[in-house]
Symmetry: C2
Subunit: 148 residues, 2 copies
DNA sequence: GTTAATGCAAAGCATTTGCACACGT
DNA sequence: ACGTGTGCAAATGCTTTGCATTAAC
Protein backbone atom coordinates (compact mmCIF):
# COMPACT_ATOMS: atom_id res chain seq x y z
CA UNK A 1 0.00 0.00 0.00
CA UNK A 2 1.44 3.34 -1.00
CA UNK A 3 -0.62 5.30 1.43
CA UNK A 4 0.99 5.83 4.83
CA UNK A 5 -1.33 6.16 7.78
CA UNK A 6 -3.99 4.34 5.89
CA UNK A 7 -4.62 1.90 8.68
CA UNK A 8 -6.39 2.41 11.90
CA UNK A 9 -3.64 1.09 14.12
CA UNK A 10 -1.01 3.29 12.61
CA UNK A 11 -3.17 6.36 12.80
CA UNK A 12 -4.04 5.64 16.38
CA UNK A 13 -0.41 5.27 17.32
CA UNK A 14 0.38 8.55 15.62
CA UNK A 15 -2.36 10.31 17.55
CA UNK A 16 -1.29 8.80 20.86
CA UNK A 17 2.34 9.67 20.26
CA UNK A 18 1.36 13.25 19.56
CA UNK A 19 -0.55 13.48 22.80
CA UNK A 20 2.26 11.92 24.80
CA UNK A 21 4.90 14.16 23.27
CA UNK A 22 2.87 17.18 24.15
CA UNK A 23 2.23 16.11 27.70
CA UNK A 24 -1.49 15.68 27.29
CA UNK A 25 -3.25 13.49 29.84
CA UNK A 26 -4.75 10.36 28.37
CA UNK A 27 -8.26 10.62 29.72
CA UNK A 28 -11.05 8.19 28.90
CA UNK A 29 -12.68 10.90 26.84
CA UNK A 30 -9.57 11.59 24.77
CA UNK A 31 -9.13 7.89 24.21
CA UNK A 32 -12.57 7.36 22.72
CA UNK A 33 -12.24 10.42 20.48
CA UNK A 34 -8.85 9.18 19.30
CA UNK A 35 -10.32 5.75 18.57
CA UNK A 36 -13.23 7.21 16.68
CA UNK A 37 -10.94 9.44 14.62
CA UNK A 38 -8.53 6.64 13.82
CA UNK A 39 -11.10 4.28 12.46
CA UNK A 40 -12.81 6.69 10.09
CA UNK A 41 -11.73 7.91 6.71
CA UNK A 42 -14.82 9.94 5.98
CA UNK A 43 -13.75 13.28 7.46
CA UNK A 44 -16.44 13.58 10.07
CA UNK A 45 -17.73 16.80 11.54
CA UNK A 46 -17.45 17.41 15.27
CA UNK A 47 -21.04 16.41 15.77
CA UNK A 48 -20.69 13.19 13.81
CA UNK A 49 -17.76 12.29 16.02
CA UNK A 50 -19.78 13.19 19.08
CA UNK A 51 -22.53 10.82 17.97
CA UNK A 52 -20.03 8.04 17.34
CA UNK A 53 -18.37 8.52 20.68
CA UNK A 54 -21.53 8.82 22.73
CA UNK A 55 -22.32 5.20 22.01
CA UNK A 56 -19.14 4.08 23.69
CA UNK A 57 -18.86 6.45 26.59
CA UNK A 58 -22.20 7.46 27.98
CA UNK A 59 -22.14 10.91 29.42
CA UNK A 60 -19.33 12.39 27.39
CA UNK A 61 -20.26 15.92 26.52
CA UNK A 62 -20.34 17.58 23.16
CA UNK A 63 -18.12 20.33 24.57
CA UNK A 64 -15.42 17.82 25.40
CA UNK A 65 -15.45 16.44 21.88
CA UNK A 66 -15.08 19.93 20.46
CA UNK A 67 -12.27 20.67 22.91
CA UNK A 68 -10.39 17.45 22.25
CA UNK A 69 -10.55 18.09 18.53
CA UNK A 70 -9.23 21.63 18.88
CA UNK A 71 -6.40 20.35 21.05
CA UNK A 72 -5.45 17.75 18.46
CA UNK A 73 -5.49 20.35 15.71
CA UNK A 74 -3.33 22.54 17.93
CA UNK A 75 -0.60 19.93 18.29
CA UNK A 76 -0.79 19.16 14.59
CA UNK A 77 -1.90 15.53 14.56
CA UNK A 78 -5.31 16.30 13.12
CA UNK A 79 -6.30 18.72 10.41
CA UNK A 80 -9.39 20.77 9.91
CA UNK A 81 -10.12 20.34 6.26
CA UNK A 82 -11.29 23.05 3.93
CA UNK A 83 -14.81 22.62 2.66
CA UNK A 84 -17.58 24.82 1.38
CA UNK A 85 -20.03 23.95 4.15
CA UNK A 86 -20.06 26.14 7.21
CA UNK A 87 -18.99 23.38 9.50
CA UNK A 88 -15.61 21.99 10.40
CA UNK A 89 -14.52 18.55 9.28
CA UNK A 90 -11.60 16.70 10.76
CA UNK A 91 -8.99 14.43 9.28
CA UNK A 92 -6.55 12.31 11.26
CA UNK A 93 -4.41 11.68 8.20
CA UNK A 94 -1.73 14.36 8.15
CA UNK A 95 0.24 12.86 5.30
CA UNK A 96 -0.29 14.97 2.21
CA UNK A 97 -3.24 13.78 0.23
CA UNK A 98 -6.16 15.30 -1.56
CA UNK A 99 -9.91 15.35 -1.33
CA UNK A 100 -12.92 14.98 -3.52
CA UNK A 101 -16.31 16.08 -2.41
CA UNK A 102 -19.67 15.22 -3.87
CA UNK A 103 -21.56 18.30 -4.90
CA UNK A 104 -24.88 16.58 -4.24
CA UNK A 105 -24.48 14.83 -0.88
CA UNK A 106 -21.40 16.70 0.38
CA UNK A 107 -19.53 13.48 1.13
CA UNK A 108 -15.74 13.93 1.19
CA UNK A 109 -13.29 11.17 0.30
CA UNK A 110 -9.53 10.92 0.03
CA UNK A 111 -7.65 10.92 -3.26
CA UNK A 112 -4.30 9.26 -3.46
CA UNK A 113 -3.62 9.67 -7.15
CA UNK A 114 0.17 9.81 -7.32
CA UNK A 115 0.13 11.85 -10.54
CA UNK A 116 -0.87 14.81 -8.49
CA UNK A 117 2.38 15.44 -6.72
CA UNK A 118 3.14 19.03 -7.45
CA UNK A 119 6.24 19.31 -5.34
CA UNK A 120 8.53 20.28 -8.21
CA UNK A 121 6.13 22.64 -9.86
CA UNK A 122 5.07 24.55 -6.80
CA UNK A 123 6.69 27.91 -6.47
CA UNK A 124 8.18 28.63 -3.08
CA UNK A 125 6.90 32.14 -3.24
CA UNK A 126 4.11 33.67 -5.27
CA UNK A 127 3.66 36.87 -7.25
CA UNK A 128 1.91 38.19 -4.20
CA UNK A 129 4.86 37.48 -1.93
CA UNK A 130 3.46 34.59 0.05
CA UNK A 131 5.82 31.95 1.34
CA UNK A 132 4.15 28.66 0.57
CA UNK A 133 4.01 26.06 3.30
CA UNK A 134 1.67 23.44 1.93
CA UNK A 135 -1.06 22.78 -0.57
CA UNK A 136 -3.96 20.50 -1.18
CA UNK A 137 -6.16 19.83 -4.14
CA UNK A 138 -9.90 19.76 -3.84
CA UNK A 139 -11.82 17.97 -6.51
CA UNK A 140 -15.54 18.22 -6.84
CA UNK A 141 -17.76 15.78 -8.59
CA UNK A 142 -20.59 13.34 -8.27
CA UNK A 143 -20.28 10.22 -6.21
CA UNK A 144 -21.54 6.82 -7.39
CA UNK A 145 -24.47 6.88 -4.96
CA UNK A 146 -25.71 10.22 -6.21
CA UNK A 147 -25.27 9.40 -9.87
CA UNK A 148 -27.88 6.69 -9.81
CA UNK B 1 -3.42 39.74 -19.42
CA UNK B 2 -3.91 36.01 -19.28
CA UNK B 3 -6.49 36.13 -16.59
CA UNK B 4 -10.06 36.41 -17.82
CA UNK B 5 -12.56 38.14 -15.61
CA UNK B 6 -9.76 39.93 -13.87
CA UNK B 7 -11.40 43.27 -14.31
CA UNK B 8 -14.31 44.73 -12.51
CA UNK B 9 -16.30 45.67 -15.60
CA UNK B 10 -16.04 42.25 -17.11
CA UNK B 11 -16.98 40.53 -13.89
CA UNK B 12 -19.92 42.83 -13.44
CA UNK B 13 -21.19 42.15 -16.91
CA UNK B 14 -20.89 38.44 -16.31
CA UNK B 15 -22.91 38.71 -13.13
CA UNK B 16 -25.58 40.86 -14.74
CA UNK B 17 -25.86 38.52 -17.71
CA UNK B 18 -26.33 35.58 -15.38
CA UNK B 19 -29.14 37.34 -13.57
CA UNK B 20 -30.86 38.36 -16.77
CA UNK B 21 -30.59 34.91 -18.30
CA UNK B 22 -32.18 33.44 -15.23
CA UNK B 23 -35.00 35.91 -15.12
CA UNK B 24 -33.93 37.54 -11.88
CA UNK B 25 -35.27 41.01 -11.19
CA UNK B 26 -32.59 43.69 -11.06
CA UNK B 27 -33.42 45.28 -7.75
CA UNK B 28 -31.39 48.06 -6.14
CA UNK B 29 -30.23 45.57 -3.54
CA UNK B 30 -29.00 43.07 -6.09
CA UNK B 31 -27.26 45.82 -7.97
CA UNK B 32 -25.19 46.96 -5.01
CA UNK B 33 -24.27 43.41 -4.06
CA UNK B 34 -23.20 42.74 -7.65
CA UNK B 35 -21.10 45.91 -7.66
CA UNK B 36 -19.47 45.05 -4.38
CA UNK B 37 -18.68 41.54 -5.55
CA UNK B 38 -17.27 42.69 -8.88
CA UNK B 39 -14.83 45.14 -7.43
CA UNK B 40 -13.26 42.84 -4.87
CA UNK B 41 -10.70 40.13 -5.32
CA UNK B 42 -10.32 39.30 -1.64
CA UNK B 43 -13.01 36.64 -1.32
CA UNK B 44 -15.18 38.37 1.23
CA UNK B 45 -17.51 36.67 3.67
CA UNK B 46 -21.21 37.47 3.60
CA UNK B 47 -20.80 39.85 6.50
CA UNK B 48 -17.90 41.68 4.92
CA UNK B 49 -20.03 42.18 1.84
CA UNK B 50 -22.88 43.34 4.00
CA UNK B 51 -20.65 45.96 5.58
CA UNK B 52 -19.42 47.14 2.20
CA UNK B 53 -22.91 47.38 0.82
CA UNK B 54 -24.47 49.07 3.80
CA UNK B 55 -22.40 52.17 3.09
CA UNK B 56 -24.00 52.56 -0.31
CA UNK B 57 -27.55 51.55 0.35
CA UNK B 58 -28.76 52.49 3.78
CA UNK B 59 -31.32 50.09 5.08
CA UNK B 60 -30.34 47.01 3.13
CA UNK B 61 -30.66 44.04 5.40
CA UNK B 62 -28.14 41.39 6.20
CA UNK B 63 -30.73 38.78 5.25
CA UNK B 64 -30.97 40.20 1.76
CA UNK B 65 -27.24 40.05 1.28
CA UNK B 66 -27.24 36.41 2.35
CA UNK B 67 -30.13 35.69 0.06
CA UNK B 68 -28.66 37.46 -2.95
CA UNK B 69 -25.42 35.56 -2.50
CA UNK B 70 -27.17 32.21 -2.30
CA UNK B 71 -29.13 33.05 -5.45
CA UNK B 72 -25.95 33.91 -7.31
CA UNK B 73 -24.31 30.69 -6.20
CA UNK B 74 -27.43 28.88 -7.35
CA UNK B 75 -27.23 30.20 -10.89
CA UNK B 76 -23.52 29.52 -10.98
CA UNK B 77 -22.05 32.99 -11.40
CA UNK B 78 -20.52 33.08 -7.94
CA UNK B 79 -18.72 30.37 -6.03
CA UNK B 80 -18.56 29.61 -2.37
CA UNK B 81 -14.92 28.86 -1.79
CA UNK B 82 -13.60 26.14 0.46
CA UNK B 83 -11.78 27.33 3.50
CA UNK B 84 -11.03 26.02 6.97
CA UNK B 85 -12.92 28.76 8.81
CA UNK B 86 -16.53 28.09 9.69
CA UNK B 87 -17.80 30.86 7.51
CA UNK B 88 -18.57 31.09 3.81
CA UNK B 89 -16.46 33.15 1.46
CA UNK B 90 -17.59 34.18 -1.98
CA UNK B 91 -15.78 34.58 -5.26
CA UNK B 92 -17.21 36.21 -8.38
CA UNK B 93 -14.43 34.81 -10.53
CA UNK B 94 -15.71 31.53 -11.93
CA UNK B 95 -12.80 30.99 -14.29
CA UNK B 96 -10.63 28.21 -12.91
CA UNK B 97 -7.98 29.58 -10.65
CA UNK B 98 -6.45 28.72 -7.33
CA UNK B 99 -6.16 30.19 -3.89
CA UNK B 100 -3.58 30.77 -1.24
CA UNK B 101 -4.52 31.54 2.29
CA UNK B 102 -2.37 32.97 5.03
CA UNK B 103 -2.28 30.69 8.03
CA UNK B 104 -1.78 33.66 10.34
CA UNK B 105 -4.29 36.29 9.21
CA UNK B 106 -6.58 34.03 7.14
CA UNK B 107 -6.39 36.31 4.13
CA UNK B 108 -7.14 34.54 0.84
CA UNK B 109 -5.65 35.60 -2.49
CA UNK B 110 -5.87 34.29 -6.03
CA UNK B 111 -3.10 32.31 -7.69
CA UNK B 112 -2.79 32.37 -11.44
CA UNK B 113 0.37 30.36 -11.83
CA UNK B 114 -0.08 28.72 -15.24
CA UNK B 115 2.16 25.77 -14.34
CA UNK B 116 -0.67 24.49 -12.23
CA UNK B 117 -3.01 23.43 -14.94
CA UNK B 118 -3.77 19.86 -14.22
CA UNK B 119 -6.22 19.29 -17.05
CA UNK B 120 -4.26 16.45 -18.65
CA UNK B 121 -3.33 14.74 -15.43
CA UNK B 122 -6.71 14.78 -13.83
CA UNK B 123 -8.52 11.49 -13.97
CA UNK B 124 -12.11 11.69 -15.13
CA UNK B 125 -13.14 9.17 -12.55
CA UNK B 126 -11.42 8.09 -9.36
CA UNK B 127 -10.76 4.78 -7.65
CA UNK B 128 -13.81 5.57 -5.57
CA UNK B 129 -16.03 5.99 -8.61
CA UNK B 130 -16.56 9.73 -8.49
CA UNK B 131 -17.10 11.58 -11.73
CA UNK B 132 -14.90 14.64 -11.49
CA UNK B 133 -16.40 17.97 -12.43
CA UNK B 134 -13.80 20.47 -11.30
CA UNK B 135 -10.87 21.00 -9.00
CA UNK B 136 -9.03 23.75 -7.23
CA UNK B 137 -5.74 23.92 -5.47
CA UNK B 138 -5.46 25.49 -2.07
CA UNK B 139 -2.08 26.68 -0.99
CA UNK B 140 -1.33 27.74 2.53
CA UNK B 141 1.50 29.91 3.61
CA UNK B 142 2.49 33.16 5.20
CA UNK B 143 1.70 36.48 3.59
CA UNK B 144 4.20 39.33 3.41
CA UNK B 145 2.37 41.34 6.06
CA UNK B 146 2.47 38.52 8.57
CA UNK B 147 6.08 37.60 7.91
CA UNK B 148 7.40 40.89 9.23
C1' DG C 1 -1.56 17.25 45.87
C1' DT C 2 -1.36 19.93 41.67
C1' DT C 3 -2.66 20.90 37.45
C1' DA C 4 -5.10 19.91 33.64
C1' DA C 5 -9.55 18.14 31.76
C1' DT C 6 -14.54 17.63 31.93
C1' DG C 7 -19.58 18.80 32.14
C1' DC C 8 -23.11 21.97 32.27
C1' DA C 9 -25.43 25.88 30.96
C1' DA C 10 -25.27 29.99 28.74
C1' DA C 11 -23.39 32.98 25.33
C1' DG C 12 -21.69 33.93 20.62
C1' DC C 13 -21.45 34.05 15.62
C1' DA C 14 -23.05 32.71 11.07
C1' DT C 15 -26.90 31.56 8.62
C1' DT C 16 -31.82 30.47 7.64
C1' DT C 17 -36.84 30.87 7.84
C1' DG C 18 -41.79 32.71 8.22
C1' DC C 19 -44.49 36.18 7.21
C1' DA C 20 -46.26 40.72 5.88
C1' DC C 21 -45.14 44.50 2.90
C1' DA C 22 -42.96 46.70 -1.27
C1' DC C 23 -41.03 46.82 -5.69
C1' DG C 24 -39.67 45.34 -10.51
C1' DT C 25 -41.46 43.84 -14.79
C1' DA D 1 -51.66 43.30 -11.39
C1' DC D 2 -48.72 39.63 -10.52
C1' DG D 3 -45.15 37.42 -8.59
C1' DT D 4 -40.75 37.89 -6.93
C1' DG D 5 -37.80 40.13 -3.61
C1' DT D 6 -37.12 42.51 0.77
C1' DG D 7 -37.02 43.52 5.84
C1' DC D 8 -37.75 42.25 10.33
C1' DA D 9 -37.57 39.31 14.05
C1' DA D 10 -37.16 34.99 15.63
C1' DA D 11 -35.27 30.44 15.11
C1' DT D 12 -31.59 27.31 14.08
C1' DG D 13 -26.99 25.28 13.77
C1' DC D 14 -22.30 25.14 14.99
C1' DT D 15 -18.91 26.42 18.20
C1' DT D 16 -16.90 28.69 22.30
C1' DT D 17 -16.62 30.22 27.11
C1' DG D 18 -17.02 30.62 32.39
C1' DC D 19 -17.10 28.22 36.25
C1' DA D 20 -17.41 24.56 39.58
C1' DT D 21 -16.27 19.58 39.85
C1' DT D 22 -13.45 15.60 38.79
C1' DA D 23 -9.76 12.88 37.38
C1' DA D 24 -4.86 12.13 35.62
C1' DC D 25 -0.12 12.27 36.76
Amino acid sequence: MDCPLAFKKEKLRHLEDGCRQNGLAMTVQRRVVLDALAERTDHPSADQLYDAVRGRLRGISRTTVYRVLETLVGIGVVQKISNPESKARYDANTVRHHHIHCIRCEKIEDMHTPALHLAQQVPIATESGFTIVDYSINFSGICPDCRS
